[in-house]
């Protein structure tokens, strides 16, 4: 009698496991999205009004992107994993790589002095945005999704070759090309993120640790090399990171203002809408450095809620990976979880000053259309894995 009950209870747990994880995922993402919407409004309103527009200008666009993202996420969750693997993985990768390639081409053509592509937008020397008529965005977000899908498909199809150099060849070539495209846009943060996602997915797929260490070491050397080869501004940022006060007027200024925001917030914050950093002191207050505004307005409690939400998200992602039915599903779950989790940790690390300034957004929270939409699609994908049983 008792043993039967226990068995049933176990069965019930198993049956309900999927939806529960899905609830946690959706709950975390929902909290982050809504908090993001409110904080994007707060952080952008001053700049919007000073720019001569409505205080709602930025947040309404963000809400629009959110609507599109949620719709695509629901769609993504309903697409069977089989279809993702067989029909969508390669096209998504090609599309992402193609768009990012256009940006790289623009950089190359400008370097050679041949042409300046009108679709590529360069801000502060970094070519990261594509503008196609009314639609604009950062293709690097699509590249991340494409890499995760394609790599999961490859590791599934050729799982018998795990650990062999034959498998590494396409992995390194594709990741290398994508990284090169992204680096052309002067985006070391995204490049490191791509490498981390690749390594993690190989690791979970069972690649030998020695091999992974060699790849990691090689990648790190390349990254360090690129620091010295490319223009000095990233070096300055890193120098500023180590001594922000010496670079107050330049590179360290942003970090200093970010920390002033956190420090002013204290435990409970100054209340919603009462950030001072957003009054022109903190650059990128509504995008990369939005956590500082959250910390200032909602205090340590607010910033820890954000951190906790990402931790829950990662835990749920890991749970999905563990209980995934297929290799493809597991790889996708690990890839998406690593992508979003590590991106969030890098962003938080940058805003609080444990990492050098990178130019990476806080998923779901920062203002930015392509980032928000792609992250939401990735969540849809994760839900699709959870449903696949």
């Amino acid at each position: 009698m008792s043993s039967t009950t226990r068995t049933r209870r176990a069965e019930v747990e198993v049956v309900h496991d999927g939806p529960t994880v899905t609830n946690v995922l959706v709950g975390c993402v929902g909290v982050l999205c809504l908090l993001g919407l409110v904080m994007v409004y707060s952080a952008s309103s001053v700049a919007s009004v000073q720019g001569g527009g409505s205080s709602w200008a930025v947040v309404l666009r963000q809400a629009g992107f959110m609507a599109v993202g949620v719709a695509l996420a629901v769609l993504a969750a309903r697409v069977p994993l089989r279809v993702w693997r067989d029909r969508l993985a390669v096209p998504v990768l090609l599309l992402g790589a193609g768009l990012q390639g256009v940006l790289a081409l623009d950089v190359l053509l400008r370097l050679l002095g041949i042409a300046d592509l009108p679709v590529a937008v360069t801000v502060n020397g970094a070519t990261r945005w594509l503008e196609l008529g009314p639609i604009s965005g950062q293709p690097s977000d699509l590249v991340k999704l494409g890499l995760v899908l394609w790599l999961a498909r490859l590791l599934d199809q050729r799982h018998r070759q795990i650990g062999s150099p034959e498998l590494l060849k396409p992995v390194l070539v594709v990741t290398g090309i994508l990284s090169a495209f992204v680096m052309a846009g002067d985006d070391l943060g995204t490049t490191l993120l791509l490498g981390t996602v690749m390594l993690t997915m190989l690791f979970i797929a069972g690649a030998p640790l020695g091999q992974l260490a060699m790849i990691a070491g090689g990648g790190a050397s390349l990254a360090v090399l690129s620091l010295f080869v490319l223009e000095g501004f990233r070096l300055r940022r890193i120098a500023a990171f180590f001594s922000p006060d010496d670079h107050v007027a330049t590179e360290g200024y942003q970090l200093l203002q970010s920390q002033i925001g956190f420090a002013s917030g204290g435990l409970f914050g100054n209340g919603p809408g009462n950030s001072r950093a957003k009054w022109g002191y903190l650059p990128e207050a509504d995008t990369d450095f939005i956590l500082a505004v959250i910390g200032e307005e909602l205090g340590l409690i607010g910033s820890l809620v954000v951190l906790a939400a990402f931790c829950c998200f990662m835990a749920a992602g890991i749970r999905v990976a563990v209980s995934a039915r297929t290799r493809f599903g597991r790889s996708v779950a690990v890839g998406v979880t690593t992508w979003i989790g590590v991106q969030a940790l890098i962003n938080i690390g940058v805003t609080v000053g444990t990492l050098p300034t990178k130019g990476i957004t806080l998923p779901f929270v920062s203002y930015g259309g392509s980032s928000l939409v792609m992250c939401l699609v990735a969540v849809g994908l994760l839900v699709s894995v959870a449903r696949d049983r």
Binding site: G206, I260, S264, G266, Y281, L300, S303, T337, G353
Partner: protein, 608 residues
């Protein structure tokens, strides 16, 4: 090749390891967040506070200056002050003197101001001065447009507009030299009532703390009042604006008619010392046109006013019992005192004159004879008693005390010269105050320009004035008063014609010393080779119950003009004006005009 089961175990382990790694990665930012937000963030928060919190002043509204009837003479209206923050300016790349001058040019063009003074202020300012005043009293729309223009040039947050005030004079330039004007730092050292009562007028500035954004914009809702501004008190003058304006007009006409370079008049109430009008006009050295004087000459210019000083000589002699009105003197037309000869204005044989005759005909020789009997000590004492030799304290910072040399230094010729007013000098206000002694039956009442200071809360106080003092006996004063009446009825002021009103007055005509010594023999020869004359006419009426006293001075008249012929008509016209403005009843109809006396002699004034 691992089996499926082995693979699953490895994968599970590795996935869990990933989870652990990710969790570990989250520790560092958590630790840092707690540290900054709960732990050692105070210094950072303080830094944020410093970069955005500014204390700003709210200028208190300056009090008004009003005439005796409450008519506004000077009021403050809100405007904008333009200030620069040198630190912000430097941050915007405007740092070197060349930059600052170029910036001043841009600003000057935008504010419709001369760029050089602006550049001067910017260049002189300390490099870290957060509050450099560039322009005051800028109209709000002009200031806002200028700020926009500067920001359009990319200089943002370095120039601010503050609320300020601008002084407006509804009566125009009338009485402006008495009231004074304000510069960028408030009233200048000699700027009239504005200066004397600056503390009362200016009030206390308020202070407000605001938080500013990176471009200097005020953060919404961040203002916190530290102290409300305390508006300044109003200053009520003794002046009557209408009479003042008329006096200035009459003086301008008189200067044009007589050819005087400058004309001065004071009209006031002898019993209280209230100055009702004090005007001065002068001829422009550029185009010869006549306009209001550019300085407070009623109080600041001292004259060797000549015969009008004889009043003091005679009054002191009568008071001392040296002579009464009817005592006879044998008076020649010239008198030798040591090495100097003094002569009467007109040649005459040796004559018998009473004291009254000496005053009526303004005899120099007779006056000197009186003074010689009186002695230097008593004459000097009387001159001081009548208010000469020191400022009257009327309430104007530019007031001069005139010149009255120490009696110890007087030689015998000095005594003679002092008796007829060619040794000492006096301002118009001193002369007016001296004649009031006779009108007030021997009492000296200090002239006053300010009646009361009324604080914003309505409390009123009268500024301190010296207590009235008895200079000569009432009887002596009455006797001298009758002599002054004789000047008008039989003497040098017979031209005066004021039916129904007995006037007591004295004329004076004196040579003006040349500003530069041309002829070593004669200090009265001017660079143009001619002598220049000062005409004076001072007195009061009605003689039996004085209500108005008037002093007129015409400076630098052509030869042939006298106190009686040049200044007399001005006195006459001012007397008629006063009768009309102050509703003074003629003789035999005391108090028939209700309000007349009340208006001229406010009940609150001291000494009545």
């Amino acid at each position: 090749m691992p089996s499926r089961v082995d693979e699953n175990i490895v994968v599970r382990r590795r996935v869990l390891a990933l989870g652990v790694v990710l969790a570990l990665l989250a520790i560092a930012p958590t630790y840092k967040l707690v540290g900054v937000q709960l732990g050692d963030g105070a210094a950072l928060a303080e830094r944020g506070h410093d970069q955005r919190v500014r204390e700003r002043r709210i200028t208190a509204l300056r009090g008004s200056i009003l005439d005796r009837n409450g008519v506004e003479l000077a009021i403050s209206v809100p405007t904008k002050r333009v200030v620069a923050d040198m630190r912000e300016l430097r941050a915007e790349g405007v740092e070197t003197e060349v930059d600052l001058r170029q910036f001043a040019r841009l600003l000057g063009e935008a504010l419709e101001l001369e760029p050089d003074p602006l550049a001067g202020r910017l260049v002189r300012a300390g490099a870290d001065d957060p509050w450099v005043r560039l322009a005051e009293a800028v109209d709000e729309p002009v200031a806002a447009a200028a700020l926009e223009r500067i920001e359009a040039e990319g200089i943002i947050g370095a120039v601010h507009l503050e609320d300020s005030t601008h002084r407006v004079h509804p009566a125009g330039d009338s009485a402006l030299r008495l009231i004074g004007t304000l510069g960028i730092d408030g009233p200048g050292e000699l700027a009239g009532v504005e200066r004397t009562f600056d503390d009362e007028l200016s009030g206390v500035d308020g202070r407000v703390v605001v938080e500013i954004g990176s471009r200097g914009q005020t953060i919404t809702g961040s203002e916190r009042m530290l102290a409300d501004p305390d508006p300044g008190a109003d200053v009520h003058l003794t002046l009557d604006r209408a009479l003042q304006h008329e006096v200035e007009r009459v003086l301008a006409d008189a200067a044009a008619r007589t050819g005087a370079e400058r004309a001065i008049a004071i009209v006031g109430v002898p019993a209280t010392g209230d100055v009702l009008a004090a005007g001065a006009v002068e001829r422009s050295s550029v185009d010869g046109g006549i306009g209001l004087s550019s300085g407070p000459v009623v109080f600041s210019s001292a004259y060797q006013a000549g015969s009008v000083f004889k009043l003091v000589t005679v009054a002191a002699a009568v008071d001392a019992g040296v002579a009464d009105a009817d005592r006879w003197f044998t008076v020649p037309d010239r008198i030798q005192v040591d090495d100097r000869t003094f002569s009467d204005h007109e040649r005459h044989p040796i004559e018998q004159m009473t004291t009254t005759d000496i005053v009526a005909r303004s005899s120099n020789v007779g006056s000197i004879m009186l003074a010689q009997e009186l002695g230097a000590e008593r004459l000097h004492e009387a001159l001081k008693g009548f208010g000469f030799g020191r400022p009257t304290g009327v309430g104007h910072p530019a007031e001069s005390g005139g010149i009255l040399s120490d009696v110890a230094d007087w030689t015998r010729p000095d005594l003679a010269a002092s008796a007829i007013g060619t040794s000492q000098s006096a301002t118009a206000i001193q002369l007016w105050g001296a004649y009031n002694v006779i009108a007030n039956r021997g009492r000296y009442v200090a002239p006053r320009l300010v009646d009361a200071v009324v604080a914003a809360d309505g409390s009123r106080h009268a500024p301190a004035v010296p207590a009235p003092r008895q200079v000569i006996s009432p009887e002596a004063a009455d006797e001298v008063g009758r002599m002054l009446e004789a000047v008008v009825s039989d003497g040098t002021a017979q031209s005066l014609d004021l039916p129904g009103y007995a006037v007591a007055a004295k004329t004076g005509t004196s040579r003006m010393p040349s500003p530069t010594l041309v002829d070593p023999e004669d200090a009265y020869i001017w660079p143009d080779g001619r002598r220049h004359y000062l005409a004076a006419f001072t007195g009061y009426f009605p003689a039996d119950r004085p209500q108005v006293s008037i002093t007129v001075l015409l400076e630098d008249l052509p030869e042939g003009m006298t106190g009686g012929s040049a200044a007399g008509p001005v006195f006459d016209e001012l007397a008629r004006l006063s009768i009309r403005e102050l509703q003074i009843a003629p003789a035999g109809s005391t108090q028939v005009v209700p309000g007349g006396r009340v208006r001229a002699q406010p009940a609150a004034t001291p000494g009545t």
